[in-house]
């Protein structure tokens, strides 16, 4: 088989986008496969990112634009990889492009089609804090700014009703209700897995009240609540009400014991939340309940120190595992053991649980398809040959970002750059062979 110089990157978060841009810059043809209808990954859910609270959209949107406009990158959104056969330098890949029902070339993103759609359901991308239609973009500022029809909920596509209101409202005839999945077969020399991660299932610890007490929030829910392009345009109000919380507890390390590792970013995002809260609601009282502070590296502790005692009161607990949240009047009661082990109580309006970073829900499936090994925690394993290599157990297949383990944006980018360098080895060495 002749070498193609083609690369497959799976996952268009910060790691996948960075790697794609580097390789495209080196004249490789990159296929960037993203399962969601938009690219950007988790970082675009954050209004601002630590350590310097830089606006994430400002940081990531130019990268997203570069990806979409780069002639060497074919971005396949709303797509998944179904099969990878062959070996390094000669993989053949099967990709399923799910029917989007909206043409990426004809749609200009005017948004006229959402309004007429009679279906309304929760928007998962906005962490279910707001509703969307069956035809929708996940958030304002989505890239590509082209809606998708959720075929499971569209009246026509799911129950065969005679609705075509969206298509009628589109002046560009961009909507094709007859659209079907497309299957693509491509040959590539190397693969980078940048499929990211998920967050710990908070409802698995019933004592913390997540899912039962509306005042208890998952971290990404809070990110969206704070975001100025989010469901509330950035005003922090309690679920399903206009009430502004007067006091908030952020509980660190949720899931660390269960997962048996420290996620390295939760302390930092917990401090970020405290800063956000104090900034938006100056009269608010924030309490960070912690047992260890992990702020590794040169950039983090100074942020912690600037928040500690200023934006939040730090409450030490001798055991996170014994912290519980319950209802109390119209608010919440947090019970925790203090340094001496005595139970203390705290009344607050809102609780944010700093959930651990865990492997993505689809990773087992992905590992099967791509034929790579997972480590004991379920993240994609590298060869561990003591060289910092990003190669997985399958030669020619590399991993980068939080797909490999919990980490911040910085280290996700570093791994993406490493992986891109290693892929260059495969592309160029093959070229010189042929």
């Amino acid at each position: 088989m002749p070498q193609t110089g083609n690369i497959l990157v799976i996952g268009a978060g910060i790691a996948g986008m960075k790697a794609s841009l580097m390789l495209a810059g080196a004249s490789s043809k990159v296929y960037l496969v993203e399962k969601l209808p938009i690219i950007g990954g988790k970082v675009i859910k954050n209004e601002e990112s630590f350590p310097n609270l830089e606006c994430s959209t400002c940081m990531v949107a130019p990268i997203q634009q570069d990806v979409l406009q780069n002639p060497n990158i074919e971005t396949l959104t709303y797509s998944t990889v179904e099969k990878i056969e062959g070996s390094a330098g000669d993989f053949s890949v099967v990709i399923r492009k799910k029917a989007r029902y909206v043409s990426l070339t004809d749609c200009i993103g005017c948004g006229m089609c959402y309004e007429p759609c009679p279906v309304s359901l929760k928007n998962e991308w906005e962490e279910n804090l707001i509703n969307r239609k069956a035809i929708y973009v996940p958030c304002s500022g989505s890239l590509p700014n082209v809606p998708v029809i959720d075929s499971e909920h569209c009246l026509r596509l799911s129950c065969g009703e005679d609705c075509s209101l969206c298509a009628e409202s589109c002046a560009f005839e961009a909507i094709n209700l007859e659209d079907v999945d497309e299957v693509l077969e491509i040959d590539v020399d190397a693969v980078i897995l940048a499929t990211g991660s998920s967050t710990f299932d908070l409802s698995s610890i019933p004592d913390l009240g997540y899912g039962t007490l509306p005042g208890v929030y998952a971290p990404l829910e809070f990110e969206r609540l704070f975001a100025s392009n989010g469901p509330t345009f950035g005003s922090i109000t309690l679920r399903d009400s206009d009430k502004v919380p007067g006091s908030i507890a952020v509980i660190h390390c949720v899931g660390r014991r269960e997962q048996k590792y420290c996620s390295a970013v939760c302390c930092m995002y917990s401090f970020k939340f405290a800063r956000f809260l104090k900034h938006k609601i100056p009269s608010v009282n924030v309490f960070n309940i912690y047992s260890d502070i992990c702020v590794p590296g040169k950039n983090y502790q100074s942020f912690y120190k600037s928040v500690e005692g200023v934006d939040t009161e730090m409450l030490y607990t001798s055991s996170i595992a014994d912290v519980s949240v319950s209802e109390s009047g119209s608010g919440l009661k947090v019970a925790y053991p203090d340094a001496a082990g005595a139970m203390k109580e705290l009344s607050v309006d809102m609780v944010i649980l700093a959930a651990a970073i865990v492997p993505d829900d689809d990773v087992i499936e992905l590992a099967k398809i791509t034929g790579v090994n997972l480590d004991s925690r379920g993240f994609i394993a590298t060869v561990h040959d003591g060289s910092g290599s990003m190669e997985t157990s399958r030669k020619g297949v590399f991993v980068a970002g939080t797909a490999e383990g919990p980490k911040d944006i910085q280290n996700s980018v570093v791994q993406a750059e490493s992986a891109a360098g290693q892929v260059m080895g495969i592309v160029t060495s093959e070229v010189s062979v042929s």
Partner: protein, 145 residues
Amino acid sequence: MEKSSEIEFTPAIVGFLCNWCTYAAADLAGSSKLELPPSFTVIRVMCSSRIDHNLLLSTFFKGADGILVAGCHPGDCHYGEGNYYARRRFALLKKVMETLDLAPDRLQLSWVSAAEGKRYAEVVNEFTKKITELGPNPIKNSTRF
């Protein structure tokens, strides 16, 4: 000193927006179909630091009733620290404006990030309101300089 005029007055306002943050916010305001005043004209520059005193003063002499310069939040400048320089130059220019009998409030430096479409609309609308209250630019087409 200048006085605000009695008659209905529509100010002419120029907004120099940095390409990376505020211009993106203006786009977001646009795609969110937020209402903006027709009297506000956007001029795109790569960074707020590109705006120099000459450009600003000439824009006032040419008749702008207000100028908004908007860029990335401090620390977020695409080019590292451009907006800090912009801020420093601004402080200086405001002093110059006083000596010209030009209310320093006619010049505003704002930080608006790419995600802040809604805030962009608020900043522009509020600034327009403020300039409307201040009335016409007293040094428009001034020959003194």
